[in-house]
Each structure stands twice: as structure tokens, then as C-alpha cells.
Symmetry: C6
Subunit: 254 residues, 6 copies
Amino acid sequence: MDDFEQAKDKILMGVERKSLLISEEEKKTTAYHEAGHALIAKLIPGLDPVHKVTIIPRGRALGITASLPDDDKHTHSKTYLEGELSMFLGGRIAEKLIFDEFTTGASNDLERATALARKMVCEWGMSEKMGPITYGQKEQEIFLGREISQHRDYSEQIAHEIDLEVNRIINEAERKTKDLLTTNIDKLHALSNALLEHELLDGEQIDMILRGEKIDTAAFTSPSNGNEKNGKDTTESTKKEEKDSQEPENDAKD
Amino acid sequence: MDDFEQAKDKILMGVERKSLLISEEEKKTTAYHEAGHALIAKLIPGLDPVHKVTIIPRGRALGITASLPDDDKHTHSKTYLEGELSMFLGGRIAEKLIFDEFTTGASNDLERATALARKMVCEWGMSEKMGPITYGQKEQEIFLGREISQHRDYSEQIAHEIDLEVNRIINEAERKTKDLLTTNIDKLHALSNALLEHELLDGEQIDMILRGEKIDTAAFTSPSNGNEKNGKDTTESTKKEEKDSQEPENDAKD
Amino acid sequence: MDDFEQAKDKILMGVERKSLLISEEEKKTTAYHEAGHALIAKLIPGLDPVHKVTIIPRGRALGITASLPDDDKHTHSKTYLEGELSMFLGGRIAEKLIFDEFTTGASNDLERATALARKMVCEWGMSEKMGPITYGQKEQEIFLGREISQHRDYSEQIAHEIDLEVNRIINEAERKTKDLLTTNIDKLHALSNALLEHELLDGEQIDMILRGEKIDTAAFTSPSNGNEKNGKDTTESTKKEEKDSQEPENDAKD
Amino acid sequence: MDDFEQAKDKILMGVERKSLLISEEEKKTTAYHEAGHALIAKLIPGLDPVHKVTIIPRGRALGITASLPDDDKHTHSKTYLEGELSMFLGGRIAEKLIFDEFTTGASNDLERATALARKMVCEWGMSEKMGPITYGQKEQEIFLGREISQHRDYSEQIAHEIDLEVNRIINEAERKTKDLLTTNIDKLHALSNALLEHELLDGEQIDMILRGEKIDTAAFTSPSNGNEKNGKDTTESTKKEEKDSQEPENDAKD
Amino acid sequence: MDDFEQAKDKILMGVERKSLLISEEEKKTTAYHEAGHALIAKLIPGLDPVHKVTIIPRGRALGITASLPDDDKHTHSKTYLEGELSMFLGGRIAEKLIFDEFTTGASNDLERATALARKMVCEWGMSEKMGPITYGQKEQEIFLGREISQHRDYSEQIAHEIDLEVNRIINEAERKTKDLLTTNIDKLHALSNALLEHELLDGEQIDMILRGEKIDTAAFTSPSNGNEKNGKDTTESTKKEEKDSQEPENDAKD
Amino acid sequence: MDDFEQAKDKILMGVERKSLLISEEEKKTTAYHEAGHALIAKLIPGLDPVHKVTIIPRGRALGITASLPDDDKHTHSKTYLEGELSMFLGGRIAEKLIFDEFTTGASNDLERATALARKMVCEWGMSEKMGPITYGQKEQEIFLGREISQHRDYSEQIAHEIDLEVNRIINEAERKTKDLLTTNIDKLHALSNALLEHELLDGEQIDMILRGEKIDTAAFTSPSNGNEKNGKDTTESTKKEEKDSQEPENDAKD
């Protein structure tokens, strides 16, 4: 990988923390988690292309799946957003499918999925049941000392109907994601194994693995080898699906 | 279009952003969205005349429908406000009719429609069911550090009845708008196609299209051609129905 | 009208804005609105005498009905307050009777009627059902940075019973006002027509119109003519029922 | 009345406002209102002795009933507090009995009665139903910028039970007060008439009127006459039941 | 009583206010109130030993029962806390038993009992029904201008269940206390009478009275007599059950 | 114990407070409380290894159970967190089993268990019933004077469902913990007795006791003896399960 590519990854995904001690068990969990995100991104049409997926810790994340949003996309359809929800949930569902266990590492994924589903209902009118209405007045910048917050301007009963819609949307996304991963469990294993072996995969390599091909291992041995074939080098933004390194609060001393 | 006209449009509708990359698909969605706003404004009697409609991005908007409010109108009837609601919803409903899909681009329209419907119920006594009563005390300017907010001075049950009335009003406006656009779907196609071809239409050109006439393309080729026939040049205010360029939160880096 | 009278009106009712452009339709609506206020003030015994009624815009109002509160009245009976409610609602109900339409111009009337009805229930113990109890602790001046607000010290269920009482009181006032204006619709027409013709009427002229007499038009042609016969010239306060010039929020640019 | 007595009254009851114009009708209402307070104070054993009652406006009050609390009383029994409630309500009920009308003048009485009843339930455990429990944490002085308020630490259902107890306590006091005033309506008339004639009565004169005796009018003609026979001249505190001069908010100009 | 003993009492119980005028009736109520506290402290095993009980006003209290908490006790059992509740309620119940009347003087006792019962449920998991769960997050010191308060992090329904548990715990303590005082009413009379006679009793004297013995009156005549036999002189803390001198708010002037 | 070991314990567990007077009864309660924590940590597989357990007061704690979290663990499974809950509750349940009494000393344990269970439901999606959704928006740092708090963005009904899930999770942990301690009550007695005898035990000594072996008492007599065999000396963090020295609020003077 050449210097430019490394610099770009540093900006896009944070600094590598190779010194961080990760147990073999946790590495495996992380690999399936990231493979879950990346596989969903590949399987659902219309989602942004996956740029890289890695299980080398960067910043506060144990693993990262980075995708490249289209620069010439300014609004998003309901279908696209439902795909996004699936990708957010893909990591956690992969863990559950393989290890039958939940971990604390998915909490950021859940937070983003919940926030997105809530916006679909409350800001973008994408719930048929709740109609083309916005719920809640957004914060308004006022001067120092005044409250800034989302003002709830609707009744308790509507609040509950919103909750039910948010739940329905996420549960549907979960069901669909689970079906997709179950059907493609071979690919999930393949991708996880490749991640455990190589630690970092780019979009083309992922495609090769999903097609059942052997990936060119030479690309990993020579950093100056230039394995970048993606034409969108000038992109300024990526989306990252991270596997958090989140320890429960009670670990804190005292 | 002469310099004066260009300057006026800059003030009324914001600076053009011709450099912004828009995909063909998004251009088409935007064209139907703006055509939906403009067509409703033409079809419902009593609404303010449409000044211009465009799919050239300006400011943060992908498209704009600008109408000219009557200067000598100081109060508004319930009928007029119901028409406004229809125009707010027109863009989104046009998208739904043509593409069977919702996008995030309508969120500002929904926000304004909701706020207007809520005012009809809570400030202007326009819901027969809720009666000639105002709900909520408006913010009062007090000095630094004190709360400024809409004070809810009514019970939870009344809050829910208000919600139901707001929903009813918007749902009725949606139904009416959908009927209007379905009945006039040929005009919607015609207007969208003209927008895709010419990118900017003025009120007179819209009228020509709706009458099935060919519009004078010369007006678009020569900027100094002066295609402005509207006598109300001195207007100081327009209303804009914009198609937002709104990306979901999860696109943000990190 | 002499200089002194003009100065007094300026203080009582705000500066005239004769330059403001008002459409004929809006002038007519305003005339019926103000005539509704003034007629109710005349028909219900015990209300404060009407000093002037006008459809010449002053300050932010399109029209004004100014009455003179008794200087030697320091408390108010329930009966008087119910009359006040009727007068607040008179403008809006006149509009509805004549044009079968509500406008945004009555929002200030509704706000005052609601606040008055709420005080009757919550501060003055005038609802038999809610009893001789005050509801809510009034704001207490404390120093900078501390909350100032009406503290709700009662339960949700009581909050709803208060709402129902407020609704009942206003609905009764509306019913009574509608009956009064319907029975006296000839007088409403007469008063509105006189307003449209003369733009400003004083208390005596209103009386003449209601008695079916011709009013002395000479008074309007010569400003120095001194048509003031009301002995209570030294009054310091008037109540104004205004027809607001209120445009819906969505008219604002951008 | 000698100078010392006048100075004391000024301190106890505020400065006289003899210049304030009061209509005969309002004077009569005030006389019955104050007579209602004073009569209840005399009829219920254990209440503090009435010092003076007057219908001469002082400060913001149209009339005042001043009683002298016992200096050597440091706690109060439930029976005493129930008597207080009756005295608070006495003014309003006298008005209702005589004129069949409520006025805004009793709002301060209602506020104090409500606050007292609420304390009986929430602070002093005097409601058998709510038990020996305090409800709500009282405000705690913390530094600038932090909220100071009564913290509600109980559930909505308990809040409603408290409301019902407060209502019950006040309704019982109202019923008892109404019975007392109805049974002693001759005394109410006598006291009101004496107030209308003399404008100010002291405790002894009230006793004479209630015994059906003629009061010594000489006391009123000569200010230096010293009609003060009450031995507790050194008292530092009185309680005043005032008839407020309270105008509804909507009287305010503009 | 020697100088050292007097100094200690001043620190433990506040400065005596012998000049404060107390009526005989109030003295008697106070005596029974304090005797109620002291008797319960003696009757329930495991409570802290009573150091002194007095009806001489100190600070803002009309009477004080001071007990000495064990220095080498760092946690408290549920049984101990239930005894505390009984002691808090003992004063008020004694008053009720003897005079069949509640006074405002017990409000501080009720406040402390309520706060203790609430902590048993919400912080110490001592309600079997509510389980080993804490309810509410305690205040966290944050910097100036930010809210400090008990954050309610549970639902309304749980709030009500907590209320019911707090009520149950206090009602059980009240029932038990009432039974104890009723069974030992002779001792309550004896203790109250001794208090009325001597005004101040120490732990040993209370024991003598409860055993039916005559107490050594010499101790009261000679201050330098040294009646202190309690070995725990070096204690730094006492608990005081006070009979408040609390006047209802409505006594305040104006 | 050598100097290094002592320094490490000082950092990990706070300064010893050997001078603090503890009654024999309280020492026994503390021994069973800490033995409860330590035994659960040993019995449930996968929990962090116990480093030391002691009944010598340190800081504000009467006793401490310190365990060593794995350094190379960055996320936690649901199974691990359920074990943590059991360990939190182990102290209190041991007390209840042996003395049939609750004390205030477990309040910190309960607080941590409640917070952990709430996070499992609201942040980590570990309740099947509540789904892969986060509840509540976490505090966002905004500038001075603005509210910082957990924003509740869901309805009351969801709030109650969350409560029920939190209760269910804790009640299940309590039941499981009680079963474990009941089944192993001999070991609980053995561990408590050893603690009462030696005051401080390290992990290896605990293991010996649980295996029914005699522990090497020489280790306690010679501080320079170096009884540290745990290889993880370089750990930087421990978790402590403390038995608080918590006195009820009502002990405070005044």
C-alpha cells in the first residue's frame, strides 16, 4: 500500500492502534461483526460501495467497515434508508448467528439505527401510519443560558404510536437482515476468515471473496504495491460501521 | 434574462450552484417535486401566483418554487391556508405518485405544513372541534437566563385531541392534493419535462405549458432577452417551496 | 375633529396608517369584524361604553373597537366577564355569519378570551364545578437565572377538568354571541356599511345607526368640527378589540 | 382616634387611600365582603380576635379585616386551621348570599385558602386519608442559576388524591361557612350597614353591633377620642383579610 | 448541672430560649409530644439511648428529645430503621391520643419519616415488592448553571408503586407506634407530667420514671450537682426529635 | 506482605483505616457480605478473578472485594454482564441468608446493579423484548448554562416496559445468586470465618479455603513474606465490591 493510500486511510478511518492487545476470541467476534456489516452492504442493492473493512483497531474502534457515499446524492429514498438500517444491524446479527450471544460492542450501531428510524418517522414522514407530519420542533439557537432541546409538541399517546412505528421499522430491518445473513452464511464465514487472515480488505478483495476467488496475497506483503483500483480516490467522506471497544461502566475503578 | 432580473432572482431565491453535481435520477425526482408544488399552486384558486420554478440548485435547495404573496393581503382565510397545506404537500405527493417512494428531501415541506396546521388549531381557532380557544401561551421575552418556550397550559387529553385535529387537517389536505395531481397527471408530466429541458420556468411559461402550448425557447438562449412580463417587479417577498438537499445524519464522518 | 381629539385617539388607539394598502375584500371583512365587537358591546348591558370604532389601520391592527372602562370599577362580576367574553368573540362570529369563513385576524381576540376564561376558573373561583380553589401558583420574582413560570401544582386529571370548564365557558359565550348577532343581523349590516362609508364612528354615531337614524356626515368632512360629545374625556384607559393584520408564518421569506 | 392609634393602623393595614373613587355599588359589595370575614372570625371559637374592619381603601385593598394573632401561640391545631379556612371564604360567600354573584375581588382569599388546605394535606399530615406523610420536597437554596422549586416526588395518582383532599377540605369549609352566614344573616346585614355608615369599626364596636347595641358614634367624630380598649396594643403582627381591587388582565391598555 | 454539661447541651441541642412566652396549653401539648418520642425510644429495643428530653424551647424548637447514636455503628438494619420511623411518629401520635387533635408542630417529624421510608424503598432495596433495585439517579455535581436534581429514571407506574410502598411502611410504623403508646399510656402520662414539672430530664431520670420511681429533684435545684452518669460524654453527635414552633404561613403580615 | 504489594493495594483499594471502630456484630455482617461477593465471583465461570477480599475498612468502605478485569477484553457478552449482576447482589443476599435482615450497606451495590441492568436494556439491546433499539439520548456537552441530561425520547408506556425488563433481569440475577449461595452455604461460612480470622485474603487463599484446605497463616504474620503469586501484577485497574459505611440521613445533627 503506498503512502498516499495510507494517509487517506488515516484520515478516513483514524489512526491504527496495532499495539492494543486483543484476545483471539475478541478478534473472532470482531471479524464476524465487521463481516456482517460489509456483507449486508454488498447484498442490498443501492447501498454505498464498501471501501475497506478491517479488524485492526483504529481510534476507539476494534474494527471498521468504511463505505463511500455517492457524492452526487443529496436526498435519500426510503428504500435506501431501510438498507442503511440493515447495515447498521448486520454486525450484531452476525455475532448473534455465530456465537448466539450479544455483546456491548454494538451499542453505537444500535444508537445510529434507532436515531435513523426515529427520523424516518418524525422528520421525513416515511411512516404511512403517522402520515406526512413532523413530530417535535427542532432546537433553535438562542442566546446563552436558554434551553436548547428537541421540544416535544405532541401528546403522550402520539409519543407511544411513534415508539411503535420506530420499533416496527427496526424489527422489520432486523428480520430482513437475519434472513439475508442466514441465507448467505457461507459468505459470512468466508469474509470473516479472510479478515482474520489478512486483517484489512478493500472493496475489490471483498468482491473476490464473495465470488469464491482467492485474493492476491501479494497486495498485503508489499506496502508500496498499490492495490488501489477504485477510481473514486478524491472522495472526501466515508461512512464507518465500527465495532466499539466499549467496556461496561462498572469496570471503572473505585 | 437581463441583469436586473438576475439580481432579483439572486435575492429572492439564493445564489445558483450550477457546479453542484446532481445525478440524472435526482434531477428527475427534483423536477417532479417542484412541478408538484407549482401545479398545485396553479390548480387551487386563491393561492399566490407562482413567480418562478427551477431545478437549478440554489443555496441548500436542489430546486425552488417561488410564489409572490399579495402585498395587500393582511389576514388569511381558512380556505387559503388549506390551499397552502396542499401546496406544501404537492412536491412529496408528486414524487410518491411517479416513483412510489418517499425521500428525505420533503422534510422542510412537512415541517412547514405541520406548523401551519398546528397554528390553525391552536392559534386561529379553525378547528370546529377544538373551538374558538387558543392552546398554549406564546413565548414571552424575559431577560437573560430565563426560559423562553411555548408553555403548555392544557391537559394531556386536550394535547391528544389537538394532535388528532392536526392529523385530520393534514390528511385531508393530502387526500385532496393526491386527487388533484392524479386528475392532472398529464400536466404534471408536461411541467416536469419542461423543467428537465429548460431548468427554469417563469409564471407565464408555466401557464403556456399547462395550456399545452410550446414555450418560447428563445427566452432561454439569450440572457439579455428580457422575458419578464410580470408587472409586480417591486415585490419584496416571495415564498419558496424548496426541495432540500438533506442527507441522513449517518453520512457524517466519524 | 379637533386637534385635541386627534391627539387623544393617537394615544388611545395608536397612529393611523392610512398609507397601508387594504383590498376592498379585506376592508369589508374588517368592517364586519369590528361591527361585531361594537354591536355586542352595545347589546349586552353593563359592558364598558364603546368610544370609537374604526377600520383605518392603526399600529399593527387593521381595525379597532375602543371602549372606555369605568374608572370607578375595581372588581368585576362574573356576569361582566361573561359579557367581555362575548365581545371578544363578536368579531370572529360576525365574520363567520356573513362570509362563512374564519380568518387569522381573530387570533388575538381568541387569546384574550381564552386567558380570561382560564382566569375565571383558576384564579377567581367562578366555575361552580371547580369550586373556590385556585389552581397553579403564580410566578414569583426571584433573581437572575431562575425559572419564572406558572407552577402547575395539581394533577393531570384536574388539568383536564379545568380544560373542560374553560371550553364550556367559551362555548356558552360563543353560542350566546351568535344568537345575539343573528337576532340583530340588520344592525350588524347597518354598522358595517356605515364603517365602510365613514371608516370611523364614535359612540353617539353608533347609537344613531342602531336607532336607524342617519348620522351627521358633516362631522366627517370638517376635522375642526368637534363631534365629541362624550363627557368622559379625561379617561386614561381604553380597551381595544383589534382586528389583527396577521400573516401566517409560512409567508416569511427563506 | 389618637395619633398613636393612627400610626399603628398605618403600619398594620397600609396607608389609607381616601381619594380613590369607589362606586356606591362597589362600596356595598365590599362592606358585605368584609362583614363576612369579620362575622366568621367572631362566630368560630378559637380564631384570632378581630382588631379592625374597614371599607376605606388601603394600599391595593378595597377593604380590610385585621385580626390579632395570639403572641404566645407557636403551633396550630387542625381545628384552628379549619376556622381560618372559613374566615378566608367568608367574604366571598357573603357576596354570593347577598348579590348572588361572584367578583374578582376574592382571588387573594381563594389563593390563601387553597395554599393553607394544601399545606394541611402535604406538610402537616392533617388528612386522615393521605396519612402522616409529607408530599413534595421544599425548595433548597442553592447557588445562582440553579432551579429553585417545589420538587414533586410522588406519582400522578397521588397528586390526584391530594387534589381531591384539598377540594374536600375547602368544600367542607365552604359549606360550614355558608351555613354560619345563612343562620346569622341578620348580623351580616347589621355589620355591613354599620360599615357603610362608619367605614371603620374596631373589635368592641363589632361586638356591640352583634349584640344589637347602638355603637357610640362619638368615637368616629373625634379622632383624639381614644376608642382603643384592646389591651394587646404592643402586638407586632396582624392578619388581614382584604378585598382586592383586582381588575381582569384584559382591562390593561393595548 | 455543671458548666461542662451546660456547654455540651448548648452544642447538642441549641441555645435555650427561656424568655419565649409559651401558653400552658402549648406547654402541655409539647410535653406529651416529647414524651411520645422519648417513650418510643425506650420501648423499642435497639434504638439509640435517649440522652435528654426537654420542653424548654431551644433554637426554633419548642421541645427536644436528644438521643446518642452509637459511634461504632456504620450501617443500619431494616429493623433499626423501622424503629426510627416509630420514634419520628411518636410525638404526633401521643398528641393525637391525648388531645384527639393534630398540630402543625409535627411537620418536621413527618418530613424526616417520609424521607427515611422513601430511602428504604428507593436506595436501600428494603421493600420486598420493589426488589433490590435503586430508583432515581442521585444528583451529580456539575458546574454552575446546570441543573442539579434527583433524576427520575423510571415510569409513572413505578412511581406510584413506590408511593404505595412508602405509604405502607409509614402506616405500619404508625399502627405499631399507636399500639405501643396505647399499651403504655400510664408511662406516657408519667413522663409528660415529669416534663411539665421539671422541664428537662436526662436518660437516667426517664428510666426512673418509667420504673415508677421518684426522681431526685435535688439534681434540678443545684446546677453544680453533676447529675451526668452517662459514660459516653465524648460523643460528638446526637439526634434530636423536635417539636417545631411552626406557624402557618397565613399568619404572615400583608 | 512486601512494600510493593502494600503500595499496590493502597492504590487499588484505598488507604486502610485500622483505627475505625467496628463492632463485632458489624464485622461479622461485613465478613458475610464480602464473602458473598467473592464466592459468586469464584462460582460463576468467566467473571474476573478475585484479587483480594478484606474486612479492614479502606476509604469509605467497611470491606472490599477487589477483582482484576482482563486487560485484553474490550467488549462484554450478555452472559458476562449477568454474572456481574450476580456478583453485585452477592453481598446483600449473603447477609439476608445468614441474618435474615437487610442493611443500608448494600446501597452502592444496588445502584451499580440497577445501572448495569438498565444499560443492558437501553443501550446494548440485550432485552429480547425491547429489541435492538436504544432508549434515551445521551447527554451532549453544550456550553455553559445549558441543560445536560439524559433526554427521554420515548413514551411513558415504553418507559414502563423498560422498568419491567430491568426488574426482570435483576430479579432473575437475584434468584440465581440466592440459589448459588444456598447450595454453597458451607463455603460461604468458611470464607466468612477466614475473613473474620485473617481480615485479608488473596485469590490463592480463597481458592484454598474453597477447596477445604488450611491456609498458610505465616503469610499474615510476616509482611515481608511475599505471598503474591498472581502473575498479573502489572494490572492497572481493579473492580471493587464494597460494603459501604452508610449511615441513614436522619442521623445528621440539627
